[in-house]
Amino acid sequence: MDSQLFTALQVVVGVPAALVGYIWLTERIVTLVPPKWQPRLRPWFWLGPAVALLGFFLVYPTIRTIIRSFQSKSPLRPEWVGLENYKWFFTNDGALAALFNNVLWVVLLGFFTVGLGLFIAILVDRVRYEAWAKSIIFLPLAISMVAAGVIWKFMYDFRPPGQPQTGTLNAAIAPFGLGPVAWLQSPSLHLSTFALIAIMIWMWTGFAMVIISAALKGIDPELLEAARLDGAGEWQVFRRVIFPLLAPTLAVVSTTMVITSLKTFDIVYTLTNGNYDTEVIANLMIKEMFTFGDFGRASAVAVVLLLAIVPVMAFNIRQFRAQEAVR
């Protein structure tokens, strides 16, 4: 433990010191160059470490993965197999089921987190204990998804009928005569997937709520005042004034939730590992990697995930460019 502590301390102090030294050193180098060229050279030194890390951990591997997806299983001597892995993916029942589940995730997680987040943001705006309410709803975002999985494992716990129920949910519905439900082990009607999505909704609504709440408070109160004086009812104020002004914020939150849904892994891995028809793409990829050792297929799965995200990426970039133009 001591050696680990020592190493960590070295890193915590050493890396910033090394970077500062690097900047100082490169500045000396830059001053050696004719003044006209200095502003053209200096930025690249400052960007150097960042570009190197981004290139090595994000850009280069993504390209390699795309290439790898066209190659065969064998890790040592992969051969080119063209679209073989993709054909497998789109004809395999398990893979298609995972894809469908991800669609469920995207639609339901996005809709409910944004919808609930909006609803709650508007509600708590009108009570004095707003800060408390927001804290409690936001809290689940601070914990790990594994911990959230543990929390909800106790919520969803199932005991055979006749025995006292230990799970909160089953105990809550028992007084209404509804039988105990094996929430996490029910493939029928995608119940288990819904159960998992509910966990993520519990976690992420706070995220949506906080952002929407900030945007809500940024709306000029005079606009709302004017609307109300004109005789508009609350619903109309919402539909005609608040909602259009919030639209860009809702878009940003929605795209974040879309990405979160597509990348979902922790919850599924921890609670069901894809069984009971809960499989998702991210978990499928890990299975192909480690359980089946098929890096070609795993890469293909990763690329499918990437393709699904590209529309969001394009949207983000477009939004960014629009904002920059106004800046």
């Binding site: 970077l19 200096r42 993504t62 914020t249």
Partner: protein, 304 residues
Amino acid sequence: MTTTVEPRPLPRPLAAPAVQEKSRRPRRVARIALHLAVVALMLLWAIPTLGLLINSFRPQSEISSSGWWTALAPPYQFTMENYSEVMGQTGIGQAFLNSLFIAIPATIIPIVVAAFAAYAFSWMEFPGRDLLFVVVVGLLVVPLQTTLIPVLRAFADWGITGEFVAVWLAHAGYGLPFAVYLLRNFMGSLPKSLFESAAMDGANHVTAFFRVAMPLCVPAFAALAIFQFLFVWNDLLVALIYIGLANPDNLPLTATMANLVNSLGGGWYLLAAAAFLSMVVPLLIFFGLQRYFIRGIVGGAVKG
């Protein structure tokens, strides 16, 4: 974020009442309904965590036979034995330390690297600047799944799989797009006059960075540090892949807990206590530094 969307024209009532007759509206009922709704929501959100907390203080025999709410009525059978067993078990204690060893450097490295890059993006003019930043914005959403296999192969070739340095570097790389994006937005919104007067006083970029930009960016650094720390502390996938198989002794708390949940055998009653221990650090940070955490999230999504 300033928008230029005009609210659409509202319908004009046929005869505008001279005085608003709001006393007719059942406002008290609406207020009560509002409070009920908010409190209900708060309870709904708090109950799952509350259940876990209470369960963590109950003996094993109780957890497996009755729900946590039964502990709220006598006979009270609370115990600390779950916690003492969890902390005594070397697996989890070590995992807690591992989480710490992983998270702290993995927070500091990307912030320092991003600070210099963000400054270059904000206050240096050079060809290709905007295009490069657009690439950074694009990289914000690249799923790390698409990077796992090649990076794992590279780490294996260098012999660092299973070591902390692997996840430090990985988290630095994965955390950079958001760090650069956030810091650049913040730095770019600092008043230009500050940098102009510094330049007139003969300061070069290095001086301007350390004397002007850095001190003013402390709130942004705080927000970013919290965000990155929590992200790394709560991460499962990166640790699982780059440390997992090669060196299970170095696994952080999340991976250890995930294994505990999956294992059908004994020890599952320790889950509640273990989970709560893993939540202590994030919850402390959350309660203590909520403002900065929220500012970080909002800063990334809503500007101005």
